[in-house]
């Protein structure tokens, strides 16, 4: 039904997209705004690419809105998640009540452009929760300034910076079937031996009390893996994602030396200079070029190449202003905290200091820093040493003979075969796994309660793609031994699950 509906619209030219070569459109809009004729532009909070005309923007948003309203008739609680048309997929995500994010991706003939809707939705979810972590909810910014200028001036650079991470060359690369054995929005953990875990926990204990009586939260990473967290799973995922994007030793080194990064940087300046809708992105002219006046200044937390390691081991940035410490918002605890990052070799510590503990601004911050160096440096050295000793390298979690993804939805944790190993799989196998995952996604969204299932698919190349879902844990696996029977395959899964 929807498909037909959409095709009519497309035929009417209302959904005229893909005309200017952009294969992706991403928009954020507020259903509560612009409901009167002539004020439609009000509802648009963000649109990518920024250089399309308002009429195009309005047609995409209008169509999405129509679809939402329509599907709400049948399912008021959860309106549409995806609309598949002949040439496009519309992926919906209601980030906050009546704040919608819609991604429109072009279906082209290229085989690479095969994705899983759930994975695309996860991109929307990720960018939104990162946004909330730094700026607070979209609604709260709208409430602060009902004209919408504030939220637009924040969303534009934020999402653009985020999308730049996805760009390869001039093209945005969305998570395709090749990433089917990965799960965005989860944390990857380092497995610790007990003695190392105790050392880590001991360090966490010291960090806890670095700001006096108010407890500091902390997240510790080693390379790009999580070692410890005192935050709720949701907050951990956000902070982990951000750290891996910008803070870890890998992120820092790729930021300064990698060639691909330079390309990313240049594409950013292009997109901002191409901006042709100044009314909509009113503040884009005043995007900070380093230091501006703090009052009207929009902070770009995801700005590239802005973090570096200071002499004292703490990571510094001028994103928040000269000598200003970033603050973030913890969702679960509903509190704003200062973010301090400390790095020793591949060990990255993110310390979250409650704002109430920081009364005298940077003076108190430097006191906390002092406390960390004073009380924790010995432990940091020890932990780093222990973890390095036990570090199995990139392929530590490779299980030979298997290509797998294990997701624990309760803890929002996943573990997968190293991407280098996954890359050895045949395209057919990956497509089969992708298909399988889609099936499980559909099955999961159909019933909200936890469900047990086990599905095996034989791919065209005789590989097995297996999914096993038990009590909040999902295991996906690809086995490429063509001679294996279904029985062999299930046995392998069994022996794997028992590990």
């Amino acid at each position: 039904v929807f498909k037909g509906f959409y095709e009519i619209l497309e035929a009417m030219g209302m959904a005229s997209m893909s005309s200017n070569g952009e294969s992706l459109k991403l928009c954020v809009f507020d259903l509560r705004r612009g409901q009167n004729e002539g004020q439609e532009l009000d509802k648009i909070l963000f649109f990518y690419p920024p250089d399309v005309t308002f009429s195009t923007q309005l047609s995409v948003i209008g169509l999405s809105e129509g679809l939402i309203t329509f599907t709400r008739l049948f399912s008021p609680e959860a309106a549409c998640e995806v609309i598949e048309a002949e040439r496009h997929s519309h992926v919906f995500h209601e980030a906050e009540p009546d704040i919608w994010m819609v991604m429109v991706v072009e279906k082209n003939k290229e085989i690479e452009a095969i994705w899983r809707v759930d994975a695309l939705q996860k991109v929307l979810k990720e960018v939104h929760s990162l946004f909330v972590m730094f700026h607070g909810s979209v609604r709260s910014l709208l409430d602060k300034e009902p004209s919408g200028g504030l939220i637009r001036s924040h969303l534009y650079p934020f999402i653009t910076d985020y999308l730049n991470d996805l760009s390869v060359g001039k093209k945005l690369q969305l998570p395709s079937f090749r990433e089917t054995l990965k799960e965005r929005g989860t944390v990857q953990m380092l497995t610790l031996a007990r003695d190392a875990a105790l050392e880590v926990q001991s360090l966490v204990g010291v960090l806890d009390s670095c700001a006096g009586t108010l407890r500091c939260h902390s997240v510790i990473l080693f390379h790009d893996l999580l070692v410890s967290t005192t935050l709720s799973p949701d907050d951990t995922v956000d902070l982990f994602t951000f750290s891996v994007m910008r803070l870890t030793s890998n992120a820092l080194s790729s930021g300064t030396s990698s060639w691909s990064y330079l390309r990313k940087g240049s594409s950013l300046s292009q997109t901002s200079s191409r901006s042709t809708s100044p009314q909509l992105l009113g503040s884009s002219d005043s995007l900070p070029s380093g230091n501006g006046n703090d009052a009207g200044r929009v902070i770009r937390p995801l700005q590239h190449n802005k973090w570096s390691k200071g002499k004292d081991g703490f990571l510094v940035t001028d994103i928040w202003g000269k000598d200003a410490t970033p603050t973030i918002w913890l969702q679960q605890r509903e509190e704003r905290v200062h973010l301090l990052a400390y790095q020793h070799k591949c060990l990255t510590l993110v310390l979250l200091v409650p704002t109430e503990a920081i009364v005298n601004g940077e003076l108190d911050i430097s006191f906390v820093k002092h406390q960390v160096t004073e009380n924790a440096s010995a432990k940091i050295l020890k932990v780093e040493e222990k973890l390095s000793k036990g570090w199995g390298g990139e392929n530590a979690y490779h299980v030979s003979g298997y290509r797998y993804l294990l997701v624990d939805n309760d803890m929002e944790v996943s573990r997968a075969s190293p991407s280098g190993k996954v890359a050895t799989l045949a395209k057919e196998t990956l497509l089969a796994v992708n298909k399988l995952r889609e099936t499980v996604d559909t099955e999961k969204s159909r019933t909200k309660e936890e469900k047990d299932m086990e599905i095996c698919i034989r791919a065209k190349n005789n590989a097995w793609a297996i999914a096993r879902v038990t009590r909040g844990k999902e295991l996906y696996m690809a086995l490429e031994k063509a001679s294996d029977t279904l029985l062999d395959a299930t046995d392998s899964v069994q022996s794997f699950s028992n590990r």
């Binding site: 105790l198 926990q201 309760d410 009590r471």
Partner: protein
């Protein structure tokens, strides 16, 4: 003659605070016509002589009422007197060239003389070295003799040294021979069971002043002490007002620093490996612990007190005596001129309590207490009390961590050294210590007040010489096992700290880290407690980390606690279930699954693992309650296969009947 009168009043008395006490009552030796009092440190005998008789008291097992053994010897002057190590022979130095030996059983007599005129005898002592039994120190050197049971002396070896004076203690088996004009050149020999070792010659430090450009060291200025099995020499340098310490190694003598002197007369004692420096003029005693590098005293200087006297409570030790004379005066005068301090075995004992009041650094205090062997019990209780107080007072975690490290390391060490023994029926471990008496403020209050309970607890252990292994092993150690720490510290503060569980968890983590580093185990209830605390403060993310990283060691008890705490949080409950499954506790796992409504999964698991111990009605009732007749039918079928003879049970009939009634369409 008495080393101390028993019941007179003095200025030193009630209410005064002290670290060191003299045991009361002390040994009295009222021997008429006494000519002198000697102490034989090798045999721990107090010897009193008259013109023809020798009275000797055993002091090793201290009992003030013990009666002396009496031996008769021919009349004559007695310069010194010592029994052989088997106590068979009494040796008496009659003059500077004659020593007489009397066999106590055979009454045999032997006289040993040196070359008159060219040399004179300074003294002698018995030795248990394999080489010789007797050493005679003369101005020309030291003669070593072997002595057989028939009292034949055979010269084994002569060490040629010019000697002005010498000192020897049996405890250290070390003899120091002083030579030179200022008597500051020291030659040392150790006559140990391993043989005779010559120590490198060394010079003592002496400051010079204008008034005294060539001060001379007298034997009274030098003390040999043994603490923690190490031998030190203490030397008074009156000009500099310093007490120099030297430590003896097998092949070196190393000066270790100096302690200040506040008195023109000074003596030292060692109690329980602590150095007590008596500043005689000032009538105070200062306690030092040479184990730590710091030369700071352990406590503030306080007077020496009589123990058991006028309400000064606490523990105690041992006799002292004055060599010459010793008054029978009615007044107790501390540090009488006549007092002699005998090095190894002293008068005093410190009270742990007063020290705990005056030491501010808790972890070094704990370290200190852990090294105490005397009254190990009391030290142990104090340690537990201090640890509890540290936590209850919410001291910074680093401080508590340090304290815990000290206790755990001490325990680990004492286990390795074989000192620590699991004390079963010991009363102190059987009862939970109360919290009062733990806080230093209380201590201070109580130290001056009297406490009869405390007196009863007093143990009469003697400080053991380091050489005396057997005696040492009889002492209970103040070491605290992890289980005891859990029971008397963590478990006992849990209730009071429940609102500060973050803090307590941090401390427990440190404790676990500490015992893990020492490869020790602890009562698994501590893990149950940790789960409880983390769940209480809703730190579920960390609870999960603790569990997956096995900081919380898996056990049935922990799993059940996870299930219980998981009442508030499904994720936590799942952790518990996973743990049950990993521990192969099939029965509990299946029951919990059914309880959560996952009866199909439970049954599937039961079928796979062939578990039949779970009541079949559990599954059936769960399925029936969920009103899913298909499930009920499936369960009936699986149970019929799983449990032999199930079809004949009344249960089967009941549910089969129910099934048929409700829905005829489902076939079983």
């Amino acid at each position: 003659m008495s080393s101390r009168p028993s019941s007179s009043q003095t200025s030193v008395g009630s209410g005064a605070l002290s670290h060191a006490y003299i045991q009361h009552p002390s040994l009295r030796c009222n021997v008429p016509e006494s000519r002198g009092l000697f102490y034989d440190d090798a045999n721990r005998l107090l010897i009193c002589v008259t013109s023809s008789q020798v009275f000797s008291w055993e002091t090793a097992t201290f009992n003030p009422d013990v009666s002396p053994s009496v031996d008769s010897i021919p009349e004559g002057p007695i310069l010194s007197i010592r029994c052989s190590l088997g106590k068979k022979v009494i040796a008496v130095q009659r003059s500077d060239c004659e020593i007489q030996f009397f066999h106590r059983e055979t009454k045999q007599t032997l006289t040993h003389k040196c070359k008159a005129g060219s040399e004179s005898i300074l003294g002698f002592f018995w030795s248990d070295s394999p080489l010789c039994d007797l050493a005679v120190v003369k101005t020309s050197g030291m003669d070593l003799f072997a002595c057989d049971s028939a009292m034949n002396l055979r010269l084994v070896e002569t060490k040629k040294v010019n000697v002005n004076w010498y000192i020897y203690t049996h405890e250290s088996r070390l003899v120091l021979l002083a030579s030179g004009l200022q008597c500051k050149t020291i030659t040392g020999f150790q006559l140990s069971t391993a043989g005779v070792v010559r120590l490198p010659k060394f010079e003592m430090t002496l400051a010079t002043t204008e008034s005294n450009s060539k001060p001379i060291i007298s034997p009274g200025d030098v003390h040999l002490i043994t603490v923690y099995g190490r031998i030190y020499c203490l030397q008074v340098d009156m000009e500099a007002m310093l007490l120099h310490t030297y430590r003896f190694y097998r092949d070196a003598v190393v000066q270790q620093g100096s302690l200040p002197i506040y008195s023109s007369k000074l003596s030292v004692s060692v109690v329980d490996n602590l150095l007590l420096v008596h500043q005689i003029d000032a009538k105070v005693v200062i306690i030092y612990d040479l184990f730590v590098d710091s030369r700071a005293p352990v406590s503030a200087p306080l007077p020496l007190l009589w123990r058991g006297y006028q309400g000064s409570d606490t523990s105690s030790q041992q006799e002292n005596e004055g060599t010459e004379s010793s008054t029978s005066s009615e007044n107790i005068v501390m540090y009488e001129d006549a007092w002699t301090f005998l090095v190894p075995d002293l008068i005093l004992d410190q009270t742990n309590k007063a020290i705990s009041a005056s030491s501010s650094d808790r972890s070094s205090l704990l370290e200190f207490l852990q090294r105490r062997k005397l009254e190990a019990n009391k030290a142990k209780q104090l340690c537990l009390g201090i640890a509890r107080t540290l936590i209850l007072e919410r001291r910074p975690a680093t401080q508590v961590t340090q304290a815990i490290d000290v206790l755990v390391t001490a325990y680990s060490y004492s286990v390795k050294a074989g000192i620590y023994k699991e004390l079963k029926n010991e009363k102190t471990t059987a009862t939970t210590p109360t919290n009062d008496g733990a806080s230093p403020d209380n201590e201070r209050g109580r130290a001056s007040g009297s406490s009869i309970d405390e007196e009863e607890e007093v143990e009469m252990n003697l400080p053991s010489g380091s050489a005396d292994e057997q005696q040492e092993s009889q002492l209970s150690s103040p070491a605290i096992s992890p289980d005891e720490l859990y029971k008397f510290v963590f478990a006992s503060v849990e209730e009071a700290m429940v609102e500060e569980s973050d803090y307590l968890v941090a401390i427990i983590t440190e404790f676990l880290r500490s015992i893990s580093a020492e490869k020790l185990k602890v009562d698994l209830n501590i893990y149950v407690m940790t789960v409880r605390l983390l769940a209480h403060s809703k730190r579920f993310a960390e609870l999960s980390l603790f569990t997956t990283n096995k900081i919380i060691e898996p056990s049935k008890e922990v799993a059940l606690q996870l299930l219980e705490s998981g009442g508030q949080n499904l994720r936590v409950r799942k952790l518990g279930l996973d743990m049950l499954r990993q521990l192969s506790l099939h029965h509990e796992y299946i029951s919990s699954l059914v309880q959560d409504g996952y009866y199909l999964e439970a049954l599937r698991y039961a079928q796979k693992r062939k578990v039949t111990s779970v009541r079949s009605s559990l599954f059936l009732e769960a399925a029936f309650a969920s009103n899913d007749m298909q499930h009920l039918a499936a369960i009936l079928r699986v149970l019929s296969e799983l449990i032999p003879g199930f079809k004949e049970t009344s249960e089967y009939y009941t549910f089969h009947g129910l099934l048929n009634e409700t829905s005829s369409s489902v076939a079983v």
